[in-house]
Symmetry: C2
Subunit: 107 residues, 2 copies
């Protein structure tokens, strides 16, 4: 499972997709397949978590990579690029790299 | 700590902020303060995780609430609204509610 804390050696990718509601399921399947077949086998991959927007037009991927360089190397991989082109054909997206700044939990 | 799995009884808010780089730290402080002072005391709050964009212009909050109704009730709270107006004064944002559809981890 994915754990979010400030003291893990990871970078976090949050990629927010916007999609027509009738293609939301298709986009989710495509992202899960791309992660299972390609991303998880690349060096530095830690985890990916595909989220379904409750209103139907959004999908998000919350993913952890060991180092920024690992994520960037994956972007250059032809198999990863093929999956990204497929996603770009049905959705717009906004990938951003983060570090965890602070966490707050209920007592 | 926050754990992401498909079998937890939570809804997930991912709120992506865009901010001038010189105000990124201020926005992060404001979000942590709002969470500590207001959100964490509202019914149904589970956790919030404030993320710093590595390029300086983005901030994201990955937050879990017990039920959608709890999150929506918080939106009507005057103290929460005051913090949200303060954030809106220095950043644009895009709050979206999700459920976790699927997770993938490295072996």
């Amino acid at each position: 499972m994915t754990i979010i804390t400030t003291d893990q050696p990871v970078v976090t990718l949050i990629n927010s997709f916007t999609v027509a509601p009738e293609r939301q399921d298709e986009l989710i399947r495509l992202l899960v397949e791309a992660t299972e077949q390609v991303m998880r086998h690349r060096p530095g991959f830690v985890s990916a978590n595909i989220h379904r927007g409750l209103e139907g037009t959004r999908v998000a991927n919350y993913a952890q990579w060991r180092r920024r360089e690992d994520f960037e190397a994956m972007l250059g991989d032809p198999a990863a690029q093929a999956h990204m082109r497929e996603a770009a054909g049905i959705a717009s997206f906004d990938p951003v790299l983060y570090e965890v700044a602070d966490t707050v939990h209920v007592e």
